[in-house]
């Protein structure tokens, strides 16, 4: 990113290669809207180019990218009811099991999980989705969310507890 900042804009295509998949995943799991998420990936990269001077040496690129992604998400207003059916995203992947039953089961468990996540508060959902991004640890998460590392740790743990309760309420069990 420092090279991009110094004027080598072409370097951004490397960063795109490396990070766009995870970024798309982050945006998609938070919005469950596929096309809007794809648009937002583009917007995030555009903003990174435009505001490249705000990237400071020594900071973590992923952290900076997700920070911008959060702002893009905040700017985005979604109309209700246009939610994309998240399950069809996985449709192409559910070809492994030969039995129709098996496929159906997988589909249902994804649907259950998305429904459960929908019941979380926005900030709980966000911190859990950030937490699953491999490049991000507490220092980055705390920076992205503008909270202390200790607070980030506590919030991840509390969000997990919340989701546990929802799982119990909805009867989602292990090995089912």
């Amino acid at each position: 990113m420092l090279q991009v900042k110094a004027g080598d804009l072409e370097r951004m295509s490397l960063l795109f290669e490396r990070h766009h998949r995870a970024l798309l995943g982050f945006l998609f799991h938070l919005t469950q809207r596929r096309e809007a998420s794809e648009d937002m990936v583009q917007t995030v990269f555009y903003r990174m180019l435009k505001y490249r001077n705000s990237f400071t040496e020594g900071s973590n690129f992923s952290g900076w990218m997700y920070h911008i992604a959060r702002n893009v998400l905040k700017d985005q207003k979604f109309g209700s009811g246009s939610k994309y059916d998240p399950i069809s995203v996985h449709e192409e992947k559910i070809t492994g099991g030969t039995l129709a039953d098996e496929r159906l089961e997988k589909k249902q468990s994804w649907q259950q999980l998305y429904d459960a996540m929908d019941m979380l508060s926005e900030s709980d959902r966000e911190i859990l989705i950030l937490n699953r991004v491999k490049e991000l640890n507490y220092p980055e998460i705390s920076e992205i969310m503008g909270i202390s590392q200790g607070a980030a740790r506590v919030r991840v743990s509390r969000a997990v507890e919340e989701l546990k309760k929802i799982f119990v309420k909805k009867g989602i069990k292990r090995d089912s």
């Binding site: 804009l9 072409e10 951004m12 295509s13 795109f16 766009h20 998949r21 995870a22 798309l24 995943g25 998609f28 799991h29 596929r34 096309e35 998420s37 794809e38 648009d39 990936v41 583009q42 990269f45 555009y46 180019l49 435009k50 995203v89 996985h90 192409e92 992947k93 994804w110 999980l113 996540m117 859990l128 989705i129 937490n131 699953r132 640890n137 507490y138 740790r153 506590v154 991840v156 743990s157 997990v160 507890e161 989701l163 546990k164 799982f167 292990r174």
Partner: protein, 255 residues
């Protein structure tokens, strides 16, 4: 000794391997003796694994192509502004003995850069147009609307784009998209393909708003060739009264 409640706050970190070794050892020792916490840890692990096993959607190839177009466009614009910036810094340099040399260099360099940026500008235009063509096929009406509105930024449009816009005007299910398309096409009235396409479209549109708007466009373009199609339209049963009045007016004004 910590209480179970306190241990429970560390379960997620333990599962993710983010606990300090000493804290992890202490927790593990407690787990050996506390069935309750073992159960809680299993539940925590299940929740975290479920989230981590969520599959990321496969990015479509188009996403990369769009990024490429955006980056090239950005680079082209950036180059232009760097070039402008340079002129000013050159002019403001107080080195008079070098002035003549600099003026000559500037002219050569300027001509070179101008030629290059024109070429790049043209490439960017072509890419933009290609992007608009794909956007017009987007299932989201808002995206198609964007594409239609962007056509106003293009300096030149080719026949492919005109054909795509006409197809949108005739077939798009969304009336707002059709209306914007009509506006965009009206701005391209110099092209003969646009005029013939619009005339053909008169009898195929069924929305009164569009029919009224087409009449306006034809008046603005003073397109006498449309009179036949308008007469045809008047023969249609169930034509909106307002539209009928407007079309009759239009025909009188055009003849």
């Amino acid at each position: 000794m910590m209480k179970c409640e306190e241990y429970k706050e560390h379960l997620a970190d333990w599962h993710m391997g983010r606990l300090e070794p000493a804290d992890a050892a202490e927790l593990e020792q407690h787990l050996n003796t506390c069935a309750d916490c073992r159960e809680a840890l299993a539940a925590t692990g299940f929740v975290l694994d479920s989230i981590n096993n969520l599959q990321d959607p496969e990015p479509p190839i188009q996403l990369k192509a769009d990024f490429r177009a955006m980056l090239d466009d950005f680079k082209a614009k950036e180059k232009k502004s760097v070039f402008r910036g340079n002129i000013w810094s050159w002019l403001l340099q107080p080195r008079l003995p070098l002035a003549y040399g600099l003026v000559i260099l500037l002219c050569i360099g300027g001509a070179y850069l101008l030629g290059r940026s024109n070429k790049q500008g043209q490439e960017a235009q072509e890419r933009k147009q290609a992007m608009l063509l794909t956007m017009l096929d987007n299932p989201l009406a808002s995206e198609r609307m964007k594409a239609v509105n962007y056509t106003g930024d293009l300096k030149e449009v080719d026949k492919r784009l005109i054909a795509a816009l006409l197809a949108t005007l005739n077939n798009d299910p969304n009336v707002n998209v059709r209306l914007s398309t009509l506006e965009a096409l009206a701005a391209l009235g110099d092209h003969s393909e646009v005029r013939t396409g619009l005339i053909k479209s008169i009898t195929t549109q069924d929305s009164p708003i569009i029919q009224l708007a087409i009449a306006d466009v034809m008046l603005k373009l003073q397109e006498k060739g449309s009179v036949g199609s308008f007469r045809e339209l008047l023969k249609q049963k169930g034509l909106d009264d307002e539209v009928r009045k407007k079309v009759k007016e239009t025909i009188t004004k055009l003849i």
